[in-house]
Symmetry: C2
Subunit: 505 residues, 2 copies
């Protein structure tokens, strides 16, 4: 058994190496690739992707895995295997199952469809022409339903889709969490709307030297704990994080002269993701214990650092003097006023531009629509109308057109249905993690105010990062915080914070 | 046969894709890789290298090739194949033969040895301790001799080693060429040493803004024809060119504030390499017809652009006004004086810093030593003494220590024996190509002076670049210029140029 396990682990590492090379080639595509190299780059990536898939699902892997696990049921063959090995083999089998259960013809068709759809979507969005995108989205929804059937599920097909992003999470659980969250958020948002003392952030739209913005962002994330000897930051059209190995985790951003919040908070956000990847245990590289627990847990890291730390008053008590030094335009602004400026709340149309309070509302309406599409047979042609109704219900604003509405996100055109909930769940995980860290260190905020961020990084390393996928998200939250996952800690955090910012009663 | 050929070409393309990914990963290693990612990077590269080797020499490739060529003799099996296909199959077989004839155990041992040796060499060089490097070099020389036996040869084992870099070139041919070249160079060098009117280039060691240096270099190479929509320039410790495909060919350099010549001429040199790679026919990507003819032909391109164009008076008649604009320190210097400054000749100890006249002398002494090591059983322990004797004989200078002498180059520690001649042969090819281009366009230098460099680029595209490996270097020179390869055109070029610069009689 020990020998068989080693063979399997070596194959997992080989697969991870192939994926790491693919990720590097993609990173180059988004950062430095010359303009006309795109066509050949697609060929390189298609080759690498087929190669990685072959390592993961080919004969060698199958032979190695079936010595340890019943491929059909996932049952571990050796009854004496310890708890850790059982968990490991369960995850390896699950990944293999998802990667190999779809027929090759289905994978190929889905890949062709989504590749076309992304182009059609991009064009349809520019032209504000949902009708052009509709037939593609119809096919995608249809194939996603079939995908769910291939994967298998106990209750609803949407569960099978979400499982890829948030293992162990069910439609039922998310529905309950979001319904409680919705109520609390809408109440808070109403209070904020009715505030008689709103912060004015026009100052942050003045000119901020872009080189200084870049340097300041990097200075800050290094203080937070992003290790630049194992990472770097480059420019790209859309910010992202990519990790090849815990010793090489890179972030990107873009800088706008007249929007100082944009680059800075994206840098902190991506650094949050990156510190997670840097904290994964290198000795488990390639195996599930060396991988992130879920998309939502990943998002909890970025949102914790960006919003709960990076937009906190304690954080700025430490960094504001340096910021003022770099940007004299802030000379006459007090830190308390600056703190209010970077925490303005405003119901808006576009998810990626949303603030901390309204962000989850954008997610919830997507979740409801996805559920209806996958579980209840909603027609794609009805999407624009339903989208606008729900925007009105959740946020009180109605998109003037589909470009600003139902067509704003790339996810569906990529076939990524079931992904959205992870974004909002990240907020809930983050609030509970932070609560526990503060419980463990009662002087937490004083230490943050003093610029000592290792207190949080070490806490996350110990309780989240080094665990890899040992626990599914719900179990992880329970075991780390002693509490079940709930929206209440996040709502409490928001209510306390925004009471001060919007001077609510 | 047509079907079999297609299968073979598809495998060649797959191999080229694997190599292109490897080259990109190496490029990243030299440019942007975080400091601590080195260990994992070695693992990625070892995996890619083994993978590429497997594609090139594995069962699939063997099966495809043996349908078309007798694997033992290289004889083409189909007598009706046209001349082009015959040439193509010959080259494919030759590459396969070299890649597969070495036993796996030998390849592994050689790879381990040279990897160790490079580290030992680097340390020994710093410590000026040839004795520490000697046992490694002895083993390398020993294995290179064995390598030659595996490859096979008609006359001397050194031929077999050179064949990898300069196909069709023999020890006998190079010996004859170099002996004639040596005589001419030493005579010219003597005249230069005795000149009563030497240029003074101290001005070029003043401060030159590094950002301007960078921008000017890029401005120039784009005018020469380096297509930045299919390339880019980045910083690295040592300048190099790397091509993944004709649509993605990248150069690197480094910039010194107090040595304006260094970055500029390295940029033009690398752009010369890069324009060759950009000019290879993309429709033959992966096959020998889409590859560079030899290391020496590659070097002919870089040296032609760097020295014969980039250090010509006509070139600077066009670019000098712009240079003065960027660097006011040159305000009171006439273009003719600047031209003399960038063409100073001085026998020196280090090959990579040598000027156009003395450079080939550095190569020749290496060639003589390699010949003795491989063909005549010279002892490695005698190298330092022989090196110093030959430096005295060729250049009239003697290194103060082995660090500045026999240990200066990385090549031997990498097992690259037989490579050096290509550098000097590049000068000879370049001079003959340039002669022919001028014959074909009698107003050549007027057009260069007017800043129209497409005249040369188009000539090279047509006569060299688009041919790939259709002809071996000696045949290529003969067919393009109608003349056999000879040192005389290069010597004539140097004599005419330096007569003016050193005001010789």
């Amino acid at each position: 058994m020990k020998e068989d396990l080693k063979v399997l682990k070596d194959l997992l590492k080989e697969y991870a190496k192939a994926e790491s090379v693919q990720a590097l080639v993609q990173w180059d595509q988004e950062t430095y690739m010359p303009e006309k190299a795109g066509e050949f780059r697609s060929e390189q990536l298609a080759w690498l992707s087929a190669l990685a898939h072959e390592i993961h699902t080919g004969k060698r892997f199958k032979n190695a895995l079936e010595k340890l696990v019943d491929l059909n049921t996932g049952h571990i063959l050796n009854d004496e295997s310890d708890e850790e090995t059982t968990r490991l083999l369960h995850l390896v089998w699950k990944d293999y199952h998802y990667a190999s259960v779809l027929p090759a013809s289905f994978v190929e068709e889905f890949s062709r469809l989504t590749s076309q759809s992304q182009q059609v979507w991009a064009k349809a969005r520019v032209n504000n022409d949902f009708k052009a995108f509709q037939p593609y989205l119809e096919k995608i929804v249809d194939m996603c339903r079939k995908q769910a059937d291939y994967y298998g599920y106990t209750t609803t097909p949407y569960d099978a889709l979400m499982e890829q992003y948030e293992p162990g999470m069910t439609t039922e659980t998310v529905t309950a969490l979001f319904s409680e969250l919705k109520e609390g958020l809408i109440k808070l948002l109403d209070n904020i709307k009715n505030s008689g003392d709103k912060p004015d952030d026009h100052l942050l739209k003045k000119s901020f030297d872009t080189a200084h913005q870049w340097a300041f962002g990097l200075e800050v994330v290094q203080k937070l704990g992003y290790d630049m000897s194992r990472g770097r930051q480059d420019r790209s059209a859309h910010p992202f994080t990519t990790g090849f190995h815990p010793t090489d985790v890179r972030i990107t951003t873009r800088v706008f002269e007249n929007d100082m919040k944009s680059a800075f908070f994206s840098t902190v956000h991506e650094a949050g993701h990156a510190m997670y990847e840097q904290g994964l245990p290198p000795e488990h590289f390639g195996t599930p214990f060396g991988q992130a627990a879920s998309y939502g847990i990943h998002e909890s890291q970025s949102r914790l650092w960006e919003n709960m730390i990076g937009r906190s008053l304690s954080f700025w008590k430490h960094f504001y003097p340096r910021l003022k030094e770099l940007f004299p335009v802030l000379q006459n602004t007090l830190v308390d006023d600056f703190y209010r400026m970077i925490n303005t709340v405003e119901p808006s149309l576009i998810r990626v531009e949303a603030d901390e309070v309204t962000y989850s509302l954008h997610i919830m309406l997507r979740f409801e629509i996805e559920k209806m599409l996958i579980n209840d047979g909603l027609n794609v042609s009805d999407l624009p109308e339903i989208w606008n109704e729900k925007m009105k219900e959740y946020l009180g604003v109605v998109p003037p057109d589909d470009k600003m509405g139902v067509m704003q996100d790339v996810h569906w055109s990529m076939g990524a249905v079931g992904y959205f909930p992870s974004y909002a769940l990240g907020n809930l995980y983050a609030a509970q993690f932070l609560n526990q860290a503060v419980k463990d260190h009662p002087d937490f905020w004083d230490i943050i105010r003093a610029g000592e961020f290792t207190i949080l990084l070490n806490w996350l390393r110990k309780n989240v990062h080094t665990l890899g996928r040992r626990k599914d998200p719900l179990d992880l939250v329970k075991s780390v915080t002693g509490e079940k996952l709930s929206p209440q800690p996040f709502l409490k955090y928001l209510n306390e914070k925004y009471k001060v910012i919007y001077k609510l009663l």
